[in-house]
């Protein structure tokens, strides 16, 4: 049987009790200042805690790799055949889109629109999820030391994921688009009606405050409007799957199917400066600053 002494000396007890009382008083009397103090002090602590976090994440990745490469290979042949078919289909679609892109470039130049470009992005890996059940967040393996700051937008090539809400030197916490506390300015691509995208209690995504006269319909794509937040205009958010119009309501709302499968996202890009104009001659080329 293992034995340990759990008795605390009287002086230490008194000191610890004083610290607790001061801390609690600080939280109740000066909440914002105390929060800021803890956020500042949390930098080195977060850095220290990020080591076991990244260690466990690496072990998890290793196990996942072994599983996906050697164990879960059932149905790969069928999947391969389907993917080949899809590639053929996409090649044709790609050709048509190239033509459209050339035409769009020509028309854009004609109308003298400034091309909006993403000047800097940082690639990061998802190493964890929120430590509580109250928020839908992911933890990234890049933080302040990589130039990531709160309010920066987080995306994948498919669409938006969320925005950074908290950072430590080595990690960043991203509030997902499916969290009810998130709000991102969205735009229905076809009708150009604007609204606010937020999460639902069931973990879905919806677009609120669509004008009543809007001709929105299921299947319409919703993109970022670029008006507020850390996202440029035109990034995919999702597709409208259901429209809700209540009797006497001033606005209508719609449920979205997100472009990104948020529960399975593994690598993301953090947008560091969404609005800076591209250098001359490199218009429209998003730069990716890889720091992995």
């Amino acid at each position: 049987m293992w034995m340990a002494s759990f008795r605390i000396p009287y002086n230490a007890r008194r000191l610890a009790l004083t610290v607790c009382v001061v801390l609690l008083l600080g939280f109740f009397l000066l909440p914002s200042q105390t929060q800021n103090l803890f956020q500042q002090l949390g930098g080195p602590v977060g850095w220290l805690l990020s080591w076991p976090l990244q260690g466990v994440a690496a072990i998890q990745d290793g196990i996942g790799d072994v599983w996906s490469r050697y164990v879960a290979l059932q149905g790969v042949e069928e999947e391969n055949r389907l993917l080949h078919r899809e590639i053929e289909h996409l090649k044709g679609q790609n050709n048509r889109l190239r033509e459209s892109a050339v035409a769009t470039d020509r028309l854009t130049a004609l109308l003298e629109f400034k091309t909006q470009a993403l000047s800097t992005m940082v690639a990061a890996q998802v190493i964890g999820r929120d430590t509580t059940n109250w928020y839908r967040t992911i933890v990234l393996n890049k933080g302040e030391s990589d130039g990531i700051q709160p309010e920066m937008g987080v995306i994948t090539p498919a669409g938006i994921v969320g925005r950074v809400v908290k950072t430590t030197p080595a990690t960043a916490i991203v509030l997902l688009v499916s969290d009810g506390n998130n709000a991102i300015a969205g735009l229905i691509q076809r009708t150009r009606d604007e609204g606010i995208v937020d999460g639902t209690a069931q973990g879905g995504v919806r677009l609120k405050y669509i004008p009543l006269l809007s001709t929105v319909r299921t299947g319409d794509r919703v993109v970022t409007s670029g008006l507020v937040g850390g996202f440029p205009r035109g990034l995919a958010i999702g597709t409208i799957s259901k429209i809700e119009k209540e009797e006497g309501a001033l606005f209508q709302s719609a449920e979205l199917t997100p472009e990104v499968d948020i529960s399975r996202v593994e690598e993301v890009l953090v947008i560091q400066s969404p609005y800076s104009p591209p250098p001359s001659g490199e218009a429209g080329t998003p730069g990716l600053k890889s720091k992995s």
Binding site: W2, A4, A16, C20, L49, L53, L175, N181, D198
Partner: protein
């Protein structure tokens, strides 16, 4: 020795909660092992250890959550204090008493969290109770019961309790 044990506990709670437990979540709810650990420490080592561990674990967990530090630190600190006081008052702690106690403490911590944060417009107290607080309290109670049973078999729990009450 105790400091090392507590440091290991704090360092291991965050990866466990952030990486391992999301895989074991049911209906997107997972147990709060930080709260369970703090309650067990409070119960076995006294209210002061419980409070200090609660503050430390609460702070560490808040660094990897979108929630504010104050709610996490205060709820976990109070949970440690409650567990310590309860442990001091009870003559014998059976697994059933522990499971019931953890359920109550977890519910109180959940209610305190709901009271301190602004819920989104489509969510209310009933939603919080039904989808997060009660399922999490059940998980916490079961996890705490299992850990206590393991601690009972591996450590001299009776002696720890006697020491903490001295």
């Amino acid at each position: 020795m105790k400091a090392i044990l507590y440091t290991i506990l704090i360092l291991s709670v965050v990866p466990l909660q952030s990486i391992v437990l999301p895989h074991a979540s049911v209906w997107n709810v997972m147990p709060d092992m930080g709260l369970v650990a703090v309650c067990l420490v409070g119960l076995l080592a006294g209210e002061l250890d419980g409070v200090l561990m609660g503050l430390a674990v609460g702070w560490a967990m808040s660094l990897f959550s979108a929630g504010d530090a104050m709610t996490s630190i205060v709820t976990k600190g109070m949970a440690g204090l409650l567990a310590g006081l309860a442990g001091r008052q009870m003559a014998q702690i059976t697994p059933m008493v522990l499971v019931a106690g953890l359920f109550v403490v977890s519910c109180l911590a959940g209610l305190a969290t709901v009271g301190s944060v602004k819920l989104a417009e489509d969510r209310d107290m009933w939603w919080a109770l039904r989808t997060v607080i009660l399922p999490q309290a059940c998980f916490d109670a079961v996890a705490g019961g299992v850990l206590y049973w393991a601690a009972w078999n591996w450590f001299d729990v009776e002696r720890l309790l006697k020491e903490s009450r001295a």
